[in-house]
Every structure is written in C-alpha cells, then in structure tokens.
Amino acid sequence: MKDKLKDFVQDHRDEFDSFAPRPDLWQDIAAELQQENSKPMLAVAPEPAQAKVFSLNWNTAFRYAAAVAVLVMVAFTAQYFISNSADQTGSVAATQPVTLDKIAPELRQIETQYVQVIQEKESELKAMGAGDIRFADLDSAYNELKKELYTTPNKEVLLQAMSDNLKMRIALLNQQLEVLENRSKEQTRVRHETTNI
C-alpha cells in the first residue's frame, strides 16, 4: 500500500526536528553524574592504620611489607583518580562558562524588561480563566538564538531577533486577551438582553 504522507515525511525528515532543549541542560546532567561518581570514589580511600606489634620473622616481615606497598599503591591510584575526575569536570564546565553577561550585557536588560510585561499579561490571562499558555516554538527558537550568542560574530542581529521573539509573545498574549475580553463582553451583553425579555 502506498502512503504518500509517509513518503513526504521521509523526504523532509530533518525539517521535523525543529525544537531544542534549553542550552544549560547538560550542566544539570553533568552535576548529577558527578554526584553519583563522588560517592564510590570516597569509599575507596580509607586506609586502616597499622599499629600492631609483630614478631620479626623475615617471612611475616615480607608479607607486611607487601601489604604496605599495596596500600600505598591503592592510595596513590585513588588520589590520581580523584584529582583526574576533578580535572575532567573542570574542563567540561570550561566548555561553556563564558557568561552571557560578558558577551552581551544588553541581554539582561532586554530580558527583564520584556519578561516582566509577559508575566503580567500571563497572570491577567490566567485571571480571566485562560488555561496554561505555552510558547514551545518560540521557546525553542529563543534558546537556539541564545546558544548562538556564544559564537556569533554578529551580536546585534541576534539580540534584535531575541527581542522580536519576546515582543511576539506579548503581541500574542495581547491578542488572546482581546479575544477573551470581547467574549466576556459578548456574554454580559447576551445576559442583559435575555433578562430584558
């Protein structure tokens, strides 16, 4: 059986992957992995103090010497692994720690300015009984732009796009508000008319 829809989707498969997670999600994952790792690492470290009196017999002396040597080796490897893993997380953290504040100090201002308006509108909408408002597409686009900020040679264009993205949300929220307001006006009007009859 031929499925034209399936053929079309297969031909355009890449275009369907348009969403992106927030850029700092990896940091959360890495932090959790780190936490799990550090527990068993510490469990390797204990070295019981050897303060027992022993008789000097070459055979036993050898055994104790070997035991001490093994302990020393364990201690060194444990230390090596601990410092090594600390290095690794250092460098992984170093893959993204250039703060946005340094790259684009304007961004904070833009975000606080618009986010406040957006939140006000959202709570207004909620108060009017609208359900959850979600901007998955806009969120993805915004996160992508934010990621690009780290590498872009053309910061202004990106910042403009980001503030357009935020403005678009405000416009959408306004539209929604208007719709709801009209509807409630309509309802009260209808109610008045029916009571008049």
């Binding site: 499925d3 034209k4 829809l5 399936k6 079309f8 989707v9 355009h12 498969r13 275009e15 369907f16 992957d17 348009s18 969403f19 992106a20 997670p21 927030r22 999600l25 990896w26 959360d28 994952i29 890495a30 959790e32 992995l33 780190q34 799990e36 790792n37 893993s85 690794q88 997380t89 460098s91 992984v92 893959t95 979600r134 998955a136 969120d139 993805s140």
Partner: protein, 186 residues
C-alpha cells in the same frame, strides 16, 4: 535514522563513556540531544516534560551503559529509552486528568480522495500532529517519523500489531482532516 557508518564513529566514544569519561559523555550528548528532544517532544507534546525525559534518559543511559552490548547503534538504543520514558509520562498524565480524550471515535468513512491529493507542508503537518489526541499522536509519530514498523510499535506500546495498524490509519485520517481544516482557516 542513524546510518551504519555512525556505529564505528561512536563505538570508541561509547567505550570511553563506559569508563566514566565526562568529555565523551558530553560528546554523545551533543550528538544526540537535539534529535532525542524532538522525539520526546512529539510524544509528550510538552516542552517541560520533554526536557525532563531528555535529562532522565541521558542519566539512565550513562548509568546503564554496561548493559549496552552494541548489537544496535547507540543512537537507536538511546532512542528506545527516550521513547519508553516519554510514553510513561503520557500515560501518567492521562490517568491524572483527561480520561475523556481518547474515547472520541471518528466515523470510519472511506478515504477522501481530496485529502489524499492535498499538497503537504512540513509546518502544517507539524501543527496537526500537535493537535492530535495522545493515543493517535504516539502511534502516528512512531510510524511516520521514528521509522518503526507496526510489529515494533506493537512491542513498544504492548498492543497487538492489528491495533497499531488500525490506530495508525485512524490517526492518519484525523491528521489529514486537521490539515484540511487549517487550510480553510488560513
């Protein structure tokens, strides 16, 4: 779908991950996070849940990496984890709030020739997928976008192959009619 050349490229990164190499883990994350996020986004239809799924999936993939024997690509192994976790989210949610949604039955009319011949557009398909009921959306995306056949979908969802087929054809019909509605509205 991942090509076969990927297997070799990833094999040594996966091996390094097995030793707990954080950089190698980050490599895999960079390679797969976006596509896996979209897989989950299509099933859960929820940005926050999809992010949770992504995080949980990578964590459990790295924890359980020793059980990965390399008989499939790492990508398809990871994808199964993502799909299972996403489905769990959807099922949990359905129990919580919306028992009504999947009981809508669509009349089983024959295929509308006008629907079959319409011009497909990626954007309108995506939009229509997002407005499908959960049960339809999951089967449809697994079949259309994630490339599973009905036998595999039956196994993933623990339903019969026949159910998967009929669910898909209903979902497909519903999708086309949603796309047609969009066309008239715009």
């Amino acid at each position: 779908m991942e090509t076969l050349e990927y297997t070799d490229v990833n094999a040594h990164i996966v091996a390094r991950c097995k030793e707990g190499d954080r950089k190698a883990q980050y490599e895999l994350y960079k390679l797969y996070s976006k596509s896996m996020f979209n897989v989950s986004m299509r099933i859960t239809n929820d940005y926050t849940e999809a992010e949770d799924v992504l995080q949980e999936s990578f964590l459990s993939a790295f924890r359980e990496l020793h059980t990965f024997k390399g008989d499939s690509t790492f990508g398809s192994w990871l994808k199964r984890i993502v799909i299972n976790k996403s489905i769990t989210k959807v099922r949990g949610r359905r129990l919580q709030v919306e028992p009504m949604e999947d009981h809508q039955d669509f009349a089983d009319e024959g295929p509308d020739p006008a629907q079959e011949d319409m011009d497909y557009k990626v954007e309108s398909i995506k939009k229509a997928i997002q407005s499908l009921p959960d049960g339809y959306r999951v089967v449809l995306t697994l079949y259309l976008l994630e490339g599973y056949d009905h036998g595999e979908i039956a196994e993933i969802l623990s339903i019969s192959e026949a159910t998967s087929k009929s669910q898909y054809s209903r979902a497909r019909k519903k999708l086309l009619s949603l796309m047609q509605e969009q066309m008239f509205l715009s």
